[in-house]
Subunit: 444 residues, 2 copies
């Protein structure tokens, strides 16, 4: 490293917290800058989150959509990678308190993303896991697969129906994708695997508090998604506010749904670290950043990705919490830091460019050959949208170096309908109840 | 099912416990028999155990070497699959007590395999995990990868050396394969991923109590494996009996090895269920079966695979605990049951054929292009043995229907030296200690 720094002056230290889309993009874009970068994440991998629901529904394996951060950045000499959680930031001393060590910085980029929000009902989390991490996805996969195993042995019809009822709460992209995939497992992937139960009778119920699905996309596409899901056999409940969740029971006001499999896809909030920053947060716990993505009063600290709340000055719209926005934010901050270093006069920063989100479109997949997409002002659905969805979501995996492997897994499972990812691993959190089994009824 | 049973007489019930090589083979070979089969396993997948060490060393992912049992048997109409643990067997009433239900049987096939044996030192298990299940493999993978992460931040030289010391106990095939793979990770796969540590200095120590490696194979091959491992940089310690293991410390008599990563590959014993059978067991807790693989005094109960201890009448040698022997045993029992059903007279079984193990050879891989093999009376090593090893271990995966995907993963990681399976997932069992980090020393 010293070869690039012949004057031996200390180089500015850039500390990036979070190896998601924003953090990785920011680090990569600083590859040729004369800075020393530290990138810390609590996991050793970057996760391609848009495909996480496919791990939860046993189509892909974790290694298909995650890549070690060290490997992604192994050829970039000015970055070092740390596996550590951020405990807090000392903004005055410009030091971040990581799990093992305090790290001083000249620039800090916070890209720690979002986590689930249960809107003040954190007790719902145990009965209705959310889907943000690999562990979440494996837990949901385990619950879904165990539900069929348990139903196969359940002699009581009502109990069996509850085991085969899957409730997804939240009609955004994650909820729509999960509901579609859960229905496909039941109706296409596994019917032949079971002898006692008819898996095609499994119910998938998608509950949305608002009046339509995919609220962030054009109305036409929300309608199309609704039609497609209903045609697949998913029961969609709009204008339905979940008021209570307990183990095996979802309440919508006075209505009770018996369902042993509940997944939460309704709300997100900024990750924990935001509250330690002593700055203004929005209702979802995200940081209200300046137009250049910096923390108010701290031009050396940036907040990017899902943790940032910014209203785009050009459009007047809030920047959405999606992967392309995170990537653009990471790139913007890298450019600002480079401009700073080129123009720094007496410690004063050069005037900063405001961040502008270039919306190239949005899309959401619904089933094995359906999706909805909004691209370049045009909206469409069906197989063509799905094909575009596939291309758009697999191209970025090229950076993972295992693109061919993912494409292969994906095409294979698409054409064969047969998935090895359908493994129940880890110690199940669900208790196994002793039921009056079919054998005792029929044969004993 | 009733269509195949026009007389409506109850068909004999065959209960197979265990979906390993022996259990799956036995069930498949009974596909056309007029029996009702139940196959129970505590996991929902069949595991291709010979490649498990590649999951532990982050080359393959669990889904590459495991396939749902239901899927493997989905087209076989006379079998049903149960996800359940066996709690015990009532030999008199001919009922097996599964976790959820009691299952009556006419034939019982016990194929529950083996687990680790710590030779009476079960307290060693926490410090030195063994490698028998997918969870074991993921735990070892997590520990190995975390060791490098921790070493990267460790400022103290001696502590760093301990973190980068990997001890494998047991010089059988699993130990030899693990030691070779651990050395390859350190020397070839990850050196560029780390900045502070030189991973090629990581020590891998293979400890064997006996005078040679691969004791079950011809002596020449044990020597060849020793040479190959030493050439790769593995320290092999023969005639070294481990006397004590505590967290981070292995004792060989008075000699102490500081090592934070210890893997146990030294001993196996029959699985728990054997002790409940009230029959004679050998020192490794395996069932001493009759020559036809039946339980003494119970011709309707068979014990197959790693759980059985049998001396082959033809050869006078004990049948080894390897996959080909398990498969042959499963097939033998299926044939005996078919013969029984054809010849059953007044409840008397026809005379039974003794089991004979056809040894087609054995082999063990050592590194990315080395192996040793003993086939058809000839012994050889090197690249050619490795090529044969590859073919022999991938062909059987054809039954998994994802053979192409595994071949692809495997070739990919072979040629690219770059592995996405290198993920640290799950909640680590290791505690993270706060160390005096490099930053505080160098910069604060």
């Amino acid at each position: 490293m010293s070869s690039e720094n012949p004057t031996n002056e200390p180089r500015p230290r850039v500390l990036i917290i979070g190896g998601g889309f924003a953090g990785i993009e920011c680090a990569s874009r600083l590859a040729t800058a004369s800075v020393d970068i530290t990138l810390a994440d609590r996991h050793n991998y970057h996760l391609f989150q848009p495909l996480l629901y496919q791990v939860a529904t046993a189509v892909l394996s974790p290694a298909d959509i995650a890549a070690p951060i060290r490997r992604l950045l192994r050829n970039q000499q000015n970055v070092r990678v740390v596996l550590a959680e951020l405990l807090g930031v000392d903004l005055q001393k410009r030091r971040a308190n990581l799990q093992q060590v305090k790290v001083p910085y000249d620039y800090l980029v916070l890209a720690t993303g979002a986590t689930h929000s249960y809107f003040g009902h954190e007790e719902w989390a145990a009965s209705a896991p959310g889907l943000k991490t690999v562990e979440d996805a494996l837990e949901i996969r385990r619950r879904v697969l165990l539900a069929y195993e348990a139903a196969e042995w359940e002699a009581d019809a009502e109990a069996r129906r509850a085991k085969l009822t899957f409730v997804v709460i939240g009609g955004g992209p994650t909820g729509v994708e999960l509901a579609g995939a859960l229905k496909e497992i039941a109706s296409q992937t596994i019917p032949k695997d079971f002898r006692h139960i008819d898996t095609t009778t499994a119910q998938v119920i998608l509950i949305e508090a608002g009046p339509r699905l995919l609220a962030a996309m054009p109305e036409k596409l929300g309608l199309r998604a609704l039609q497609d899901l209903e045609q697949m056999g998913v029961q969609v409940r709009l204008n339905s506010m979940v008021t209570e969740i307990t183990e095996g029971l979802v309440s919508i006001g006075s209505e009770k749904l018996l369902a042993e499999n509940i997944v939460w896809a309704a709300g997100v909030r900024g990750s924990e670290v935001a509250v330690t920053l002593d700055c203004e947060l929005d209702r979802q716990g995200r940081v209200l950043v300046e137009s250049d993505l910096s923390l108010p009063g701290h031009p050396e600290v940036f907040v990017v990705g899902d943790l940032a709340n910014l209203t785009d000055l050009h459009t007047g719209h809030p920047v959405p919490g999606v992967a392309p926005a995170a990537i653009q934010m990471g790139r913007h901050v890298a450019n600002l830091i480079r401009a700073d270093l080129a123009n720094l006069v007496d410690g004063e920063h050069a005037p900063r460019k405001a961040f502008h989100y270039r919306d190239k479109g949005s899309m959401s997949t619904i089933g094995r050959n359906r999706a909805v997409a909004s691209l370049g002002g045009r909206q469409f659905g069906g197989f063509f949208a799905w094909l575009i969805w596939g291309v758009v979501h697999i191209i970025p995996l090229i950076g993972f170096r295992n693109k061919l492997s993912v494409i292969f897994s994906w095409l294979w499972s698409y054409f064969s309908l047969s998935k090895n990812a359908r493994l129940i691993t880890g110690r199940p959190k669900m208790k196994v109840k002793r039921v009056r089994g079919v054998d005792e009824n029929n044969q004993a």
